[in-house]
Subunit: 356 residues, 4 copies
């Protein structure tokens, strides 16, 4: 169970992780490493906000192991420049949560930099994910994510067992190097136009034991999709063959069962490793749709909330033209968090880990 | 909050609804009417299991109004024929939860007719949805669903305000009568081939107030998608422009803000009525992907769990060749349940309803 | 996790138990037997409402074993006479929830027989407790309760290992037969005066493993006390030495630690088996205070809600002069339910039970 | 909803408050003031651990008002001396959680100073309580606590409306100045003997609206008692007449209803403001039993966990001989937190506060 706190320009962003078993080896640099993956790359298409993002562990760790007590992780917001946001106070950005936040919270929301709705809060998700990844690794599970589409450019499918490594070869975390080049150009071109573009990330979990997910209202797919929708800019989630399955015949879709060396397996994985809301032992595969970022330089129409008159808005500043590259470790983190929670609930990870 | 119970061939399926405000007018026939919509139509493409599905209200209603106490609703399973299932005990159906249920529950699961994993349990969802629909109507909200695609055949988009009515004109709940005809033929042809086929349902909620959804882990889109994934056969959920948004530029995607008669509105609804996880006052629009049903007559390969040898399986019996038509009221129900919960949590529906 | 539904004069009272492991042997007569213990005895001091209270299992059981799916249990209300309650509609009984229910639920509450606030709903608690007792017995835990005080008459303490059996020897479930006689006379005399009287029940759980309870907000003592306060008429809960511990010195209170045959134990149990919110392996001992029942024949002052004038009320009908005897199995049930939940959460009961 | 983190000798203790409405005025010094009340007084009977306990607000506050986003509050542990605890690593203190923590967490727990089981963590409770107290004050509710008994010495009852003020007149927060003097002497004498002593705190909430508490499993009394049991050293909770009510006749116990100036009221409050688990508009009154602290200088018997031999333990260091005085603001905090949660759930506090 993860509790999140913090906003873009407040003092800190972070999480409290409750219910992590005792005895998990954990060093601050392991969390730091994951946070680094979330930071903007040096390439052209990323925001220029640069923070060292040093994580602080306030509780729950002792002698480099978890204690079973809540783990509090936080990162200070150092590079927050609030001035440019002030002038946008009354001109909500189209596509952004500015207006809806103002209406829901009666104008009390911290609007600077998107406040609670900024992707900045995913720093906490990634930190929690680092703990979750270590935790699920104790039972042989791994979670990774990779970019499969940006700006309509699709990555070629490569064998699942080469995928993770191949995806680490470029700043987009795309396993198809050629497609990655095209995507990079597309993002660069989009950025030049002061526009933005979306894409799709695939999440893959391997080594998943049979039985994760508690039907019917705490299904594994339900929990995963809910977690993914907590990531800013997500507009869709599909599992296995997903939306494409709607165009398949049952005779094509159904993963046939066969025996290999005494073990039941399937040659295909259209189910995405989840049947009836429960993991079936195959890799758990989801795809997550990210819309284009809202903050663009191209002039847009908004309404000035003080005058209630329409106004043109051209957003200048340090914004990503595509969030997908930096969202890859976030998707990974959410996957690991859900798998860890489900494993604990299903009794597949013990409350005290055995240590060597 | 809805608790579900029951399995395909057990005595009853039902729900307990906890937290429904007091004073809501509710008659048993209103629930009955929704249940009827879930039943198989007389047309060729549906299962032949026919049950009167008379709902029983065991608590929480007094003088035709809710009392504020938990509402218990149930329906008896009368037409359950267990015999044919016995012989399939050890030959799990590909694509179905048979195998994963057996592994998760150690063989103790009620396997008859898919047991807890049967679409039969959605009787309870629809009953709860009937209550939720009445409840959200007290603040001017409505939820409806309609078929937008079956077997790759897409319904033409018609104006939103004609959609619900038009969709009631055929057994598929498809607002495009021409497409509906083609879909019906496609299903019939598929059934003839003893195969099955999937499709996509769109859920639309109108009159949704601004502010539903509690960031970041109880977002409205997250709650909706989790609820949809509780429906058997769902493999994907998207909101607004969804997966298509990944191929849009920000300048196309962003719903511009303008003023009409003193009210802020947008000419487009790519956000699907949800921004930052919160309803923004536009219609909330989701699309839900249903895979083809697993039970098909075409021979499939499975493994006999007693002999651990591969075996051919041809499933005969009363099965839907496409679940989409009967899933429409289920999607509606889940939408209404989530909106009701979020409205209560956000304080937009009072704990005691004003009565005339 | 138990969900409760039903009111005194509605169609049914019951529970849905979610999260019970698969493979637990369970027969309907085992639940029936517990329900019988809750019924009024043939002795003079009890209510005359007599119901056969036949439990109906609607889901979650298959071949006399739990399946891992939700278990729905209910009992029909047959002997409900609503007429006498109608005339009391506008004259709330002092000490009862009549008035507060009316104010909270805006007059929509089912007021007949106390409705949702009647002790009748504990039928469901006892049914759920029967399942929980079987479940905790699989890891060697037992829960029992006994009467330790009624009308100020205290039972003499007897050795813990004779206590449960001795308490089964009389209708009060009091392990001290002499005190029980005095209590019976006190209740009879009170009933003759058309008055009522309270008492104290002790709950004892043995075989409790070390480690139940999740600090700090899901402590074992916190969970137990919350569960006990769900029983009508409870006004206090104490653990171990309880309120008496406030008058002890630390040197008397602290349970010293010693070694006997290689095992650490304590000669005393002032902690009541819970330290730091966690079970320590000693018997878990709580005492629960029951106030006297509100419904008495002696004239009382109330306010007529229609006229808003004071009025005298003398309650005639079938009421217990003391709820303690019938509350014993309810206390037992709540104890078992909490211990079962905590054991599952702590991973001490597996999700699938091993069967012989 | 409050999430707690931190241990006695870790970097920080704190809380995250989720679900606090937007628009609540809150200044850091208001929290600081409550924390000061929790600190040891300069009188003889208190621990010598002295920390400035400066609270840090990491999120959720903007322009001195809450934003509706999670509020993260923490305090650094500065004065933690770990050395003396090291030598007690293997000799668990009788009455303390040392042994049970070691068994539950497999030796991974942070044992220094009691770790997660130290009263140090109540710093977070008091900080959260400061926010809760402000929140409930917006609807006219107040919560205070006072000492009613220490070492068997009972405070004389004074009129309810003088109680809070009178209790602020001495370091024990006891409204009876004479009794307070005797209690102070008793504590001093106990401390001289290197022993410890317990006591009882009464919690009083006034201005409580009718209708807090959600039957049957989220009753107000259940929620309060669960919260109180989260405070270290609590062994009992009673509401209104509590355990004493078990010795009363119904005719004495029942709070009669009468009309005064058109308002229904009761001359007595044996129910403690809660009937049927719901607040009835009278003051909500609970009493909480605190056992004597475990750490005493008088030699005790423990077991050395390395040698598994019995050993004498005499605990030297800075310990309170009685926790009651410092627990008063903690009880107040927990009361306010529960009342705030229940008020929000019952829709009695809006999600956005009206501001002047």
């Amino acid at each position: 169970m993860v509790t999140s706190f913090g906003e873009s320009h407040g003092p800190k962003v972070g999480v409290v992780i409750d219910g992590c078993p005792a005895g998990l080896e954990l060093r601050v640099d392991e969390i730091q490493q994951e946070l680094k993956r979330r930071q903007p790359s040096s390439e052209l298409f990323s925001t220029e906000r640069r923070e060292s993002d040093l994580v602080e562990i306030s509780s729950g760790l002792f002698n480099d192991r978890t204690t079973g007590a809540p783990i509090s992780l936080s990162v200070s917001n150092l590079d927050a420049q609030s001035e440019p946001y002030e002038e946008r106070r009354h001109t909500p950005r189209p596509g952004q949560a500015d207006l809806v936040a103002r209406l829901k919270y009666g104008g009390h929301e911290d609007y600077r930099g998107g406040g609670r709705f900024s992707a900045r809060i995913t720093v906490g998700f990634v930190a929690a994910g680092a703990v979750a990844k270590k935790l699920i690794s104790t039972i042989g599970m791994t979670a990774y994510a990779h970019t499969v589409e940006i700006a309509g450019i699709r990555a070629r499918k490569i064998p699942r067992d080469e995928e993770e490594k191949a995806s680490r070869g470029n700043v987009l975390s795309c396993a198809d190097a050629d497609a990655a080049q095209k995507m990079i150009h597309a993002i660069a071109e989009t950025k030049r136009q002061e526009d933005s573009v979306g894409g799709i990330i695939e999440s893959v979990a391997t080594g998943v034991p049979v039985g994760l997910g508690e039907p019917v209202f705490d299904n594994l797919d339900g929990d995963l999709s809910k977690a993914f929708f907590a990531i800013p800019s997500v507009k869709g989630v599909e599992v296995g063959a997903g939306f494409e399955s709607t165009r398949m015949k049952g005779s094509d879709y159904n993963d046939q069962l066969r025996v290999r060396k005494g073990i039941i397996e399937s040659p295909t994985n259209n189910s995405g490793g989840i049947i009836g809301g429960i993991s079936n032992g195959q890799p758990v595969v989801c795809r997550i749709a990210f819309r284009p970022p809202s903050s663009i330089g191209i002039p847009q129409t908004t309404v000035n909330l003080e005058t209630m008159k329409e106004q043109t808005l051209s957003i200048k500043g340090r914004f990503d033209a595509c969030v997908v590259p930096r969202a890859v470790p976030i998707v990974e983190a959410m996957t690991a968090i859900v798998l860890a929670d489900c494993s604990l609930r299903a009794g597949l990870i013990p409350p005290v880990l055995k240590t060597a």
